[in-house]
């Protein structure tokens, strides 16, 4: 998937995270702010990288502001931002790239 335009998904509410993606040309540029960065920073990064890999995204600037989101929420917000970026809202690959 090629990131077409900047997009955002998620909120700054507790247990959520806000993900912003922008087109990039230096591989994956990852930025994280989290209330639990010391305990879960590596795990959050791992989930984000896996999700990007599943979506075949290799060039992106991605920023996460995490408010204690579970892994399933992080995945959901990353995917939400990516599909918004390419403007796809139907015929989504549930169980395929979205997994």
């Amino acid at each position: 998937m090629e990131i077409v335009q900047p997009a955002m998904a998620g909120t700054l509410e507790s247990s959520d995270c806000q993900v912003t993606v922008e087109p990039g040309n230096n591989g994956i540029e990852f930025n994280l702010e989290s209330v639990v960065i010391n305990q879960f920073g590596n795990q959050i990064k791992k989930v984000v990288m896996e999700t990007l890999k599943n979506m075949e995204v290799s060039q992106v600037k991605i920023s996460i502001v995490d408010k204690g989101a579970l892994d399933c929420t992080i995945k959901a917000r990353v995917e939400g931002a990516l599909f918004r970026s390419v403007g796809q809202f139907d015929h989504l690959p549930w169980g395929g790239a979205v997994r």
């Binding site: 998620g10 892994d71 917000r77 918004r84 809202f89």
Partner: protein, 300 residues
């Protein structure tokens, strides 16, 4: 073969906004019988897409500890409902709730989309059940045909807010404005052999009023109630769970009817009350409810 989940215990069905991770991550701790993950009214128009991703991963990854997972899709006159169904079925939801149901064809449309999604995502055919929300005067008038429209349909639910708007009245707290719809719906549901659920009670500051309403709909024959807050669960479960006295009496009725039938006796008394075969199904249902609620210790 009928999906056995059609008849499962559904005393409480708790609404949760599928877009809110804080709400959907652990509602099972309150032990509702069902949770209803909402893609419709609770989700803002510009968040419909994001809510689906949240729903999909919650269904896939959160262990809801046996709570039934119902997904309320967007209405059939919106551009969202087909993708809602693909997402919910792919995630492995237990049931789809159709809002604003007004005719049998609405259920059949959803049934076709659910069957197609089960095929697409390798879910066993027939696993995903359907329920229909009745939210208009037309829906109430067509409720029997809705109840009989699909083998997947396990029940119907009244949505009081929209219904009273359509009726040009309002929720008063007395129940008078919902009386006709409630009566009509429970009769149709029983005639069709499906379950029937009451609307939400939105005044969380009036727990006494809530209790009275639950007692009333329980006596009318409803199977359960839609709820909006965990505080409402224990009251519904208490009222819908048979008391020890009810259970002991039901056991006596079942055993005595079985015994007397063998002896050719049709009418007799139990604890001073006249009993005949007409009491049998009610007593069996009490035992079933006691078993399903986990309070039955007997041997029937």
């Amino acid at each position: 073969m009928m999906n056995p989940e059609k008849k499962r215990l559904r005393r409480t069905m708790m609404f949760l906004n599928a877009q809110k991770p804080g709400l959907i991550k652990d509602p099972y701790i309150y032990k509702p019988d069902s949770i209803m993950l909402d893609l419709e009214d609770a989700v803002a128009e510009n968040q419909k897409d994001a809510a689906r991703f949240s729903l999909y991963h919650a269904l896939k990854e959160i262990n809801y500890h046996g709570c039934e997972r119902v997904v309320r899709i967007n209405a059939l006159d919106t551009p969202y409902w087909k993708e809602d169904i693909r997402c919910a079925v792919a995630g492995g939801c237990d049931s789809i709730r159709i809002p604003k149901t007004e005719r049998a064809e609405d259920v059949k449309l959803v049934e076709e989309a659910v069957a197609a999604a089960e095929k697409e995502f390798n879910i066993s055919q027939g696993r995903t059940l359907i329920m229909a929300a009745i939210e208009s005067a037309r829906g109430v008038m067509k409720v029997l045909e809705i109840c009989e429209s699909s083998e997947r349909l396990f029940g119907i639910a009244l949505s009081g807010g929209d219904y009273t708007k359509d009726l040009q009245t309002r929720i008063t707290g007395t129940g008078v404005e919902l009386m006709g719809a409630r009566q009509h719906m429970i009769i149709a549901a029983r005639a069709a052999g499906v379950q029937c659920f009451d609307t939400v009670y939105t005044n969380l500051d009036d727990m006494e009023g809530f209790r009275k309403e639950v007692e009333s709909i329980h006596l009318m024959g409803f199977d359960g109630k839609s709820i909006i807050n965990p505080r409402q669960i224990s009251i519904v479960h208490e009222i819908f769970t048979p008391t020890v006295k009810d259970i002991i009496f039901a056991e006596k009725v079942v055993k005595e009817i079985d015994d007397k039938k063998a002896k050719g006796i049709g009418v007799f008394t139990v604890d001073g009350k006249m009993i005949d075969i007409a009491f049998y199904d009610g007593a069996i249902r009490t035992i079933y409810m006691a078993k399903a609620s986990g309070v039955y210790k007997g041997d029937l």
